[in-house]
Symmetry: C2
Subunit: 457 residues, 2 copies
């Protein structure tokens, strides 16, 4: 299988964008992406950025031809905890029809589907009237800090395209594909509290000094109410609730709470007012602790009052919320709750608003409908139904692909998102993997979709 | 200065008892301690234990001679965060009349004072009628798990002694020595919470699953009340309040709140009902977070819902509280506050009750008075006043020396504790150090005290 060898070679490059120690992996993955695009017949340009360059492949076509922007990212999440992986994260391993490696699902496998489909299609129809701009960036996992400037510089080229096509979202299985109609936004913060000038002996000084860990747990605990909602003034202001058809479509999703509990390995799901746990992941905003640390971390005990402590926090946002506004509100809530004797620094780490479109034939959402995208949705429905044997569901997803909103804002382009990873793909977690059946079917669907777009059928 | 070279060589042995990686440092420190005792004229025995052997030095004397048990420990706290030290923790460095190294103050320097004083005294008076049992253990920093069995085995020998003499407590400065009349006890716990079976993508699953870090901060935050007291049912039951003379003696302590704030580097001290911050460190129980961790710890961001999180907790206890009872109560409070969807393990790490004696001429405490110890206190007052130029204060201390209570329980012996480290000794913290002036004066005081005890003057 050509796709397996292409993706396997790609994931061997440990392209962790957040950590400078992985510079060689970033360069290797970038060169691999460039070779793939060139192999598909595109003209490749490496666009420098202040951090990780962007790989762009282009195909010209006669004036009046459709123009599709394809998107992927060659960077991956850190692999830690590495010891929790069954096989090493950057050594691809095939087990039970799945390819295991960091980046296999997020996002190397899925954008390889598009590249390989395009290569097949252009081998079969070398004169196809279809313009392509294929963008593979290297900073998605750190919030795409260089992508805004890239969009500004290429605004003229991109604004002339029809829409963006990408696969950086999920589907329930290789039998049921989801076309993603919305993404949550994200607002990330890092809180650092400092108390005494140095770690202190907890016997000699315990009782006289506010322990920064105590202050941190008290502040963090104050950020949710007892009913599970977020306790930050104004957090839910402006939230646009989901349409009825969106809740009904989600009920068709082949997952119930018992199955979800079993999948997650928990005896109860989290609950908050007015929303089921499964709805919450797609339609509700959250405030989540991604990491916390302070004081002694090793084996055994060390009886200190730590000098400092930190928490890494991200909020997932829904339509109507503004990332900067939410970050400001959370920051203000944290600052207002810092006790005397403790100093706080709160740094904004990343921020992007939610994105939302309405598929054809559905009641209009406040976010409007785009006729170019509507036609693409219809063609995708045909191509996906043919390749996978079942029509796609149209659902919002809980994850964030921040650049989708940026592209819309800068170029006016909407995005057609086809989910190619599955719930057991373990994104951002140990044993990340992708279903090889979805790869094969995905290539067929992408090939048919691009052909339909080019030929107007 | 003989003491400086002896202590400098001793602290080069990185004897971190909690971490098996430091086995060579433990062996080196133990051998150094054995050589020191032999050099003072004692017969040395290395007593094996399940973990770190105990070094014992003995001197026989004619029947009817006073018999003093001396105590020290050759193990030290971990040195992390190592990068916060001005000079490497196991390379002794002298700056401004202080010796900097891990263990310089806790406890290698102070028990070297006793060894060197004994060596000087016995060179001057080789036939002195004074029996000595000098015990230097290697597990004090991990709660002395082997010491109970050692005491049982040597109960007959030790029960025949008069009292224990040690320096593992503090004094405000080289000008004002404290004789310590009480120590807080300790009850240590480690809490581990587990949620989903693996780290999860916080976008895909955020909103449906109880984040273990959220559960941990909520549980930990619940352990204190808004007024600063501990919110564990029954925590303050049976607490014996300090005597009036103890509060008055503490007022003579040369430290005010402004000076303490400046020393700690904080703009406000912690407060709790009915006790000033300075009193709290010696007379009130605490519940302290020594470490917390969970989720992503590295640079940048990683948008996970962590699978688990932990907190290391120790309570400092005062007379009347029972360590096992407090550990049970804190464990019960934590277990009662674990939300659905999260499982908790709470492990008992260490536990010892507080210790308390009453010096001569003070109103009796409920803990009684020991006439043998009263005489030793009087002789110590003379020796300390001579060597340091000022009479000692009699104060309880906030730290814990768990073996003091064990010795009392198993052998009936009380302890005379002379404080030889100072507030700026940075115990359990970076840049640990000891004042070389206190070492010199301490040796003179110990030499005079041991001579007075032997000669009954």
């Amino acid at each position: 299988m050509e796709a397996l060898s292409v993706i396997s070679e790609y994931v061997r490059h440990a392209s962790v964008s957040t950590d400078p120690a992985f510079a060689a992996g970033m360069a290797g993955a970038r060169e691999h992406a460039a070779r793939l695009l060139a192999g598909a017949g595109l003209a490749v340009e490496i666009v420098p950025t202040p951090l990780h360059p962007i790989v762009v492949g282009r195909r010209a076509a006669p004036a009046g031809s459709p123009h599709v922007v394809l998107y992927g990212h060659y960077d991956v999440q850190p692999a830690d905890p590495v010891e929790a992986w069954t096989t090493p994260p950057f050594e691809p391993d095939v087990r039970d029809g799945r390819l295991y490696a960091r980046g296999a699902a997020d996002n190397k496998g899925p954008h390889c589907v598009a590249v390989l489909a395009l290569a097949r299609l252009l081998r079969r129809r070398p004169a196809l009237p279809l313009a392509i701009t294929f963008i593979i960036e290297g900073e998605e996992e750190i919030g795409s800090p260089s992508f805004g400037a890239f969009l500004q510089k290429h605004r003229a080229e991109l604004s002339g395209a029809d829409f963006v096509l990408l696969s950086d979202t999920g589907s329930p299985s290789a039998e049921q594909i989801v076309v993603t109609t919305g993404l949550r936004g994200i607002a990330g913060l890092e809180v650092r509290l400092t108390g005494p000038r140095t770690d202190l002996h907890s016997g000699l000084h315990g009782g006289a000094v506010y322990n920064p860990v105590q202050a941190l747990v008290e502040i963090c605990a104050s950020l949710h109410n007892a009913d599970g909602s977020v306790n930050v003034p104004g957090f839910y202001d402006n939230v646009v609730p989901p349409e009825r058809w969106e809740r009904e479509e989600l009920e068709k999703f082949p997952l119930d709470e018992a199955g979800y509990r079993e999948f997650l390995g928990v005896d109860a799901l989290y609950s908050q007012p007015g929303v089921t746990p499964i709805e919450a992941t797609r339609h509700a905003p959250t405030l989540e602790f991604n990491g916390i640390g302070g004081g002694y971390q090793g084996e055994g005990s060390k009886t200190v009052i730590p000098s400092g402590a930190f928490a890494k926090i991200t909020c997932r946002l829904v339509p109507g919320q503004d990332a900067r506004d939410i970050a400001d509100k959370v920051t203000a809530a944290i600052r207002a709750r810092v006790p005397r004797g403790i100093t706080a620094s709160v740094r904004l780490k990343q921020g992007n608003n939610a994105y939302h479109v309405c598929p054809p034939g559905r009641p209009n959402t406040p976010h409007g409908q785009n006729p170019v995208l509507a036609r693409a949705f219809s063609l995708a429905t045909e191509a996906i139904t043919d390749a996978f044997g079942r029509a796609p569901l149209f659902l919002r997803e809980g994850g964030s692909v921040p650049i989708i909103g940026d592209i819309k804002a800068q170029t006016g382009l909407d995005s057609l998102m086809i989910g190619l990873f599955t719930p057991d793909s373990n994104l951002h977690a140990p044993d990340e993997n992708i279903d090889l059946a979805i790869i094969e079917r995905g290539i067929r669907a992408y090939e048919a979709l691009l052909e339909k777009i080019a030929l107007g059928q």
